[in-house]
């Protein structure tokens, strides 16, 4: 788990189908609950979903397997909600790795993220070297996090994404990512049931090609909300009526707010309970109330209507407790305390005091991570170990009433049936539960068109998408719609994943790019007669037109309709042309020629002889060059029968006819490559046609 760059592995990219392969790799939350982190890569774009820790571990062991990836290659990191198992390794990832992409989360998530992690750093009791990050890192990370509103579409490097309401907790989002037309939905934790303050998860408008979905609840079915709320209030009512105390260990944010809303309302309706105090013992929850009081728009209509009268998050019967010292344990009471897992802290202190009295009750309100005390006492053991190491009998009643805001089996299967994604990837679920869910989903989608996968951590799922690249031909080039066999030539402009083909003259019209022409004018000292230049040029170039300059009346020459040679004065001539490779070359040769004239007297050479000889020589030279270049490209090139070149690459053989450029090969790819290579080599070694227009 070292963060040094030496341990970062670069993923092998298969050469042939690079563009089409989509890889999904859970770095955490694969067959487990906690440390959500899913890596995805498609067509050179990489996305990381969530960045959590496993709350059951501390230090490096809690992190997802970041060393499986190269953080510097990640374009976008999307955080679904503020829970520790989804967001808590973010400061580490942002500040202590080479990551340099962009991070997005919703407004509410960002506001709570900071409070929550600052609290996490303070509470966690690990040694300094085991600390993944400190408060300073969190503050620094805040500047790098960008916010996204629900439904707002953001585009980064051609990756388009937007988010939907996910239920679960305030600000929770499901992300839909669109890369080159392939859509991936990552649900994060979601709930399709509307509760007291949150909206139900939305059903996305479009069906995704891949759905990465949580499976926390597996095949369980939740009780209806009314039943569990009744159970909850009944247990509390009867316990306090008998003089007992109720402990509700709950995570400070998320479900806690929902439970407080229920309790406040129940108390308001039962005046006989008014003398029994309700406390919530979490400074963090107290701090976050301001956030809950502000982002009313992210909540459901019910809360928004209540907001019209009074803020529902200003409780009338519930008071906050700062520490156990402020708590006077003098009779029946209801205390909601964090942490939810009873690992340590206030909830554990109260548990230790209250666990041996059978009048008391403890209500576990949601999903508990394996390995925590809360998970253990659900099975009602006879004895428990206290924080001071002693054992005590467990006499208090333990109730498990799940207020879990995770989708249950019914919700998951209807959600998937509505979306009908061809690929389903299960994450964020305990291995056995996930297996059962997978089996049951198979029976729901029996037609075989749906792939359901549950990769383990670091196990990659590979999928192939046939990406059709569509281009839009626009402007002058598109004035006539071409028929089969017509040729289309123009500039191909790629922006993100959209392609446009246009004529060079239209480039500035349809894109932000512009074209330029560079006119060059150089003066050369030349004191001889201009006629000499004209004569010499006429010998070398095919087309030399003479004219006179209109302004000065001095003679001028136009070579190949490209370069104008003018006599500027007695001592200078000037060359003017518009830049392109051929004109540059022509002008260079003119310059050389002019310089030569002034240096030496003309020689008489037997032209024809030289010409014949050089042609033969040239032919040989060309062949040599072609051969050498082919060897440098393909390695194994031999001269075969009837003058053909035999090229073999990886066991595939191609025959190349040097004269016609025809290639024969079994292997299509090789054939194409050789053909193109040969064509390019030929155009490089053969004389350049000057009549390019």
């Amino acid at each position: 788990m070292a963060s040094s760059s030496t341990s970062l592995k670069r993923r092998e990219q298969p050469m042939s189908r690079e563009g089409d392969q989509l890889i999904v790799t859970p770095l955490g939350a694969g067959n487990e609950v906690g440390r959500s982190c899913v890596y995805m890569s498609f067509r050179g774009k990489t996305i990381l979903f969530d960045c959590g820790i496993n709350p059951a571990y501390s230090g490096m062991a809690a992190l997802p397997y970041f060393d499986e990836i190269d953080p510097s290659t990640i374009d976008v990191l999307l955080i679904t909600h503020f829970h520790l198992d989804h967001a808590a390794s973010l400061p580490y990832f942002l500040e202590k790795t080479t990551f340099k992409g962009r991070v997005f989360m919703t407004h509410a998530t960002k506001a709570i993220y900071k409070l929550l992690l600052t609290d996490y750093v303070k509470v966690s009791k690990v040694s300094v070297e085991d600390m993944l990050f400190d408060e300073h890192d969190i503050n620094k990370s805040m500047d790098k996090i960008e916010v996204i509103d629900f439904h707002q579409t953001v585009e980064v490097n051609g990756i388009k994404f937007w988010c939907y309401t996910a239920g679960h907790v305030l600000g929770a989002a499901m992300f839909m990512v669109d890369i080159a037309g392939v859509r991936i939905l990552y649900t994060g934790d979601y709930s399709r049931e509307e509760d007291r303050h949150l909206r139900a998860a939305e059903l996305p408008q479009f069906s995704p090609d891949i759905c990465i979905i949580e499976s926390t609840s597996g095949v369980q079915l939740h009780q209806s909300r009314h039943i569990r709320e009744k159970r909850f209030t009944d247990v509390i009512h009867s316990t306090v009526a008998q003089g007992g105390r109720v402990l509700i260990p709950a995570f400070a944010l998320g479900r806690a707010q929902e439970l407080l809303l229920i309790l406040d309302e129940y108390w308001a309706n039962h005046p006989d309970l008014h003398n029994i105090p309700i406390y919530y013992a979490s400074p963090l929850a107290k701090k976050c109330m301001a956030v809950y009081q502000t982002y009313i728009l992210s909540m459901n209509d019910r809360i928004r209507n209540q907001f019209a009268n009074s803020n529902p998050f200003v409780f009338k019967h519930i008071s906050a407790l700062n520490s156990i010292d402020d708590f006077r344990d003098v009779g029946p009471s209801v205390v909601m305390a964090s942490p939810g897992g009873l690992q340590s802290g206030f909830s554990r202190q109260l548990f230790d005091i209250w666990c041996s009295d059978k009048r008391n009750a403890c209500i576990i309100p949601g999903y508990m991570v394996e390995g925590t005390l809360a998970k253990t006492i659900i099975n009602e053991p006879k004895e428990v170990t206290l924080m001071n190491g002693l054992t005590a009998p467990l006499n208090m009643q333990v109730h498990y009433i799940s207020f879990s805001a995770h989708a249950d089996y019914a919700q998951t299967s209807t959600f998937l049936k509505e979306l009908m994604p061809p690929n389903i990837i299960l994450v964020h679920g305990e291995a056995n539960e996930m297996m059962r869910l997978k089996q049951k989903l198979f029976t729901e989608f029996p037609d075989g068109n749906t792939r359901i996968m549950n990769p383990k951590n670091c196990e990659s799922v590979e999928m192939y998408f046939n990406s059709e690249k569509m281009a839009k031909t626009i402007g002058r080039l598109a004035e006539k719609t071409p028929d089969v066999g017509d040729s289309v030539s123009g500039i191909l402009v790629k922006k993100g994943f959209t392609y446009q083909i246009m004529a060079p003259d239209d480039l500035h019209v349809f894109s932000q790019l512009s074209t330029a022409t560079v006119t060059q004018r150089i003066t050369i000292p030349f004191s001889g007669a201009f006629g000499v230049i004209a004569h010499r040029l006429g010998k070398i170039f095919e087309s030399v037109e003479s004219s006179t300059d209109e302004e000065t009346g001095l003679p001028a020459l136009k070579v190949h309709e490209r370069v104008t040679v003018k006599q500027e004065s007695e001592k200078h001539i000037s060359l003017q042309w518009s830049s392109d490779p051929i004109s540059d070359m022509v002008s260079d040769s003119i310059v050389a020629l002019v310089l030569n004239i002034s240096r030496e007297v003309p020689k008489i050479i037997a032209e024809e002889e030289v010409a014949v000889k050089s042609e033969e020589e040239n032919g040989k030279k060309v062949e040599k060059v072609i051969y050498a270049l082919l060897v440098s490209l393909f390695g194994d090139v031999k001269l075969g029968e009837n003058g053909k070149l035999v090229i073999s690459v990886d066991g595939n053989v191609a025959h190349l006819d040097k004269e016609s450029g025809d290639v024969e090969s079994e292997h299509e790819g090789l054939k194409e490559r050789v053909r193109v290579a040969f064509h390019r080599i030929q155009s490089a070694v053969k004389p350049i046609p000057l009549s390019a227009e």
């Binding site: 509103d149 309302e265 309706n269 301001a290 728009l297 500039i491 500035h508 003066t523 000292p525």
Partner: protein
């Protein structure tokens, strides 16, 4: 061929009248904004009334009267029934603006163009979107995608992008490129080369020179612009610890502030950042007292004070009242934060030199008394009897007539509107019995707050007409005890306002004309939050639309901007007149082709900014699915004229050369002197950057020397040769 696009303005071209434009895209009619002015002149809406029923969707840009004022009236009277799209703050603050308008008007006149109910029902069906949300229309508008983007003028203010088949139509009025205290600047600059841009020339002739921190304030309006100033005042006040109180006076002040507090997502990055770090909501205005009626202000301790009151035009409302009271004291100051609407009192006062006297008609609603009251009551009783009689007649008729389901459903509705559904004023006999509809009474209110249904009114053949909603128990447990008297999404109004609205005592309006001596100082400071002329031009140049439609400005300003754009931005600029339909269908030719894998494997892209470019030579073929497809050429392609792609900026190039150790300096005439001999200059028409002016012409000259070739190589390195 491209998508057909027609634009026809309904109001607000060649003058500063409210905005309302009809844009039809392939036959789907969008109404862009639905504004009215503070005078509520129905003649302005005539063009709208002719087309209202054909509108398929309404897009609202800003929450003020000029942009959405006519919505309730059009919905009620003109047969506008299309779905309305707006952002959440536009919806919410727009609703409050209309409440405020209505209440101000009602105080001074027999205002009957629309009622609070009409406002409620008009705003009930608004579909709320967030910024940059791509909303896909369905049904008739299949294939059209609409998206609001940040305009930066007011909270939630949006510019709209309508896309069909890659063709973009952008509607951007009253945008602001600068970051304000509570708002982010517009993102208009990020749109590049839309097919059509519809924009205003409002500030084309206006150049703003004020430094933002030199602005001080005293007086202003339009609900959401208050916020800007409110925000501004705050730190100022706490710094100097003035003892003068600040008052924020509108009929809906506290609801406005309450809502605004929860609109944090829509505000600027700095505001949300301060919330994230300190959890301090910027709109917890500690130094500002919120008032909802003028008596409170009158009761406030005498002495210097600052009052923010609504209705910038001074045509009605608190602002007008206070103006009349304060105008003749030279120690007072009236501070305008924006240019008043044309033809209003505010505009008159802003003219230079300001008038010494203004004639003001003051109207006031007074309760009826004495004989008038008796007469009124008799009249009402008569009406009531008639009503009852009619109702019973109708009832009898209904029982007699063989009743098809159609009759049943329509008839009682007719009666309905006449009797029970008006909240204010015309409620008829039920003086103390108030129907609660459209807002939530506060928990502390007493008896008159309970709903009362006039039983005489609604009868059908089965007895009393029942509204099933009244009997639905909403989600049993959840609502238990939580809601007082069926909360409504629509509105949340202050207690006193509510009682004001419910005040149905018979009253009448009396008017008297006053000559007000204007001896107080008048100052105008720009808090308008609109881009000024220069930035408008540069913004348009940057966006450089293929076609440009100019609206909402005086004839002069429109002409000015039109000429400017014709000269240097794009050749197609239109300034349509009211009800003149112009066709801005793009003459763009386009077709789609598939790029075959074979072709793409041979293409070598070069990266240039956001995009990558390459030259392709290809041949058209067919895929299996009979689609057009580009394949590599079978034979060698004919050579093409090389193209240099790139945008050379002399300044950047100078720095580049300097970094390479070449001595460079600008010589006269924009020429760049490189080294001792070589000069580089741009020739030909110098067009706007990225404008439609054609390729750049660069001339490099010098004597034959080594430097020349070196600099030429550097120059080439700035371009891609294709």
């Amino acid at each position: 061929m491209g998508t057909s696009v027609q634009v026809s303005p309904l109001c607000g071209v060649y003058n500063e009248n409210p905005l309302s434009y009809l844009v039809s895209i392939d036959g789907f009619n969008f109404l862009l904004d639905c504004g009215w002015n503070d005078l509520f002149d129905p003649s302005l809406l005539e063009p709208l009334s002719r087309v209202a029923s054909t509108v398929d969707a309404v897009l609202l840009s800003h929450p003020d009267t000029l942009h959405l004022g006519a919505l309730p009236y059009a919905m009620k009277q003109l047969g506008l029934s299309a779905p309305v799209y707006a952002t959440e703050p536009v919806h919410r603050l727009g609703l409050l603006t209309m409440y405020d308008q209505y209440l101000s008007r009602k105080q001074v006149s027999d205002f009957d163009l629309f009622t609070l109910d009409d406002i409620d029902s008009a705003f009930q069906n608004v579909i709320r979107l967030t910024f940059s949300q791509n909303y896909h229309l369905s049904g008739k508008g299949e294939g059209i995608v609409i998206a609001p983007h940040v305009a930066g003028h007011m909270l939630g203010g949006s510019i709209w992008k309508i896309t069909k088949d890659g063709e973009e139509v952008v509607y951007a009025v009253d945008y602001n490129h600068r970051k304000e205290r509570h708002l982010n600047g517009t993102v208009l600059q990020s749109f590049v080369r839309p097919a059509v841009l519809i924009t205003d020339a409002y500030n084309a002739l206006y150049t703003n020179q004020t430094q933002s921190h030199h602005r001080d304030t005293e007086f202003l309006d339009t609900i959401s612009k208050h916020l800007e100033v409110g925000e501004m005042l705050l730190p100022h006040w706490s710094q100097r610890s003035f003892s003068f109180p600040i008052y924020f006076l509108t009929y809906v002040s506290s609801s406005t502030i309450d809502y605004v507090k929860s609109f944090l997502e829509w505000m600027s990055d700095s505001i949300s950042k301060s919330f994230e770090t300190s959890r301090d909501n910027a709109f917890l205005l500690r130094h500002v007292t919120l008032l909802i009626n003028k008596t409170d202000l009158d009761n406030a301790p005498p002495g210097p004070k600052v009052v923010l009151a609504s209705m910038a035009s001074l045509e009605a409302g608190f602002a007008r009242d206070i103006f009349v009271e304060w105008a003749n004291d030279p120690r007072n100051l009236v501070l305008f934060t924006e240019t008043g609407q044309f033809g209003t009192l505010a505009r008159m006062l802003q003219s230079a030199p300001p008038p010494k006297f203004v004639k003001v008609t003051m109207s006031k609603r007074v309760p009826l008394s004495g004989e008038e009251l008796i007469a009124y009551e008799e009249e009402q009783n008569r009406l009531k009897r008639e009503e009852a009689l009619r109702a019973s007649l109708v009832k009898e008729e209904e029982t007699k007539v063989s009743h098809g389901p159609d009759d049943n459903s329509s008839e009682p509705m007719v009666i309905d509107t006449k009797t029970t559904h008006d909240v204010v004023g015309s409620h008829g006999p039920a003086y103390k019995d108030i129907l609660i509809d459209g807002f939530v009474p506060p928990s502390s209110s007493v008896a008159p707050m309970f709903p009362f249904y006039d039983n005489t009114a609604d009868w059908d053949e089965y007895g009393e007409v029942i509204n099933p909603d009244d009997y639905v128990i909403k989600d049993e447990d959840m609502d238990r005890g939580a809601m007082h008297a069926g909360g409504d999404v629509d509105g949340r109004l202050d207690e006193a306002t509510a009682s004001l609205m419910l005040d149905t005592r018979p009253s009448k309006v009396i008017s008297n004309e006053l000559i007000v001596t204007v001896s107080c100082s008048l100052v105008k400071m720009d808090y308008e939050g609109r881009s000024d002329g220069r930035s408008i031009k540069s913004t348009i140049a940057h966006v450089s639309p293929l076609k440009l439609v100019l609206v909402h400005a005086t004839a002069e300003a429109t002409e000015h901007l039109k000429q400017h754009c014709l000269n240097s931005i794009c050749p197609h600029v239109y300034g349509p007149k009211i009800e003149e339909t112009i066709d801005v269908t793009s003459d763009l030719c386009a077709y789609k082709v598939q790029l075959s894998e074979k072709l793409m494997s041979n293409v070598i892209f070069k990266k240039l900014g956001d995009s990558e470019v390459a030259w392709v030579d290809s041949e058209v073929g067919k895929t299996e699915s009979e689609k057009r497809c580009l394949q590599p050429m079978a034979s060698a392609a004919a050579p093409h004229k090389p193209v240099l792609v790139g945008d050379l900026k002399m300044q950047d190039f100078k720095q580049f050369l300097a970094s390479k150790g070449v001595q460079v300096e600008f010589a006269g005439g924009g020429a760049l002197r490189c080294g001792e001999y070589v000069t580089l200059r741009k020739v030909g028409p110098t067009g706007q950057k990225g404008g439609a002016s054609g390729p750049q012409q660069i001339l490099i000259e010098g004597p034959l020397c080594e430097d020349y070739y070196k600099i030429r190589d550097y120059l080439y390195s700035q371009f891609y040769l294709l």
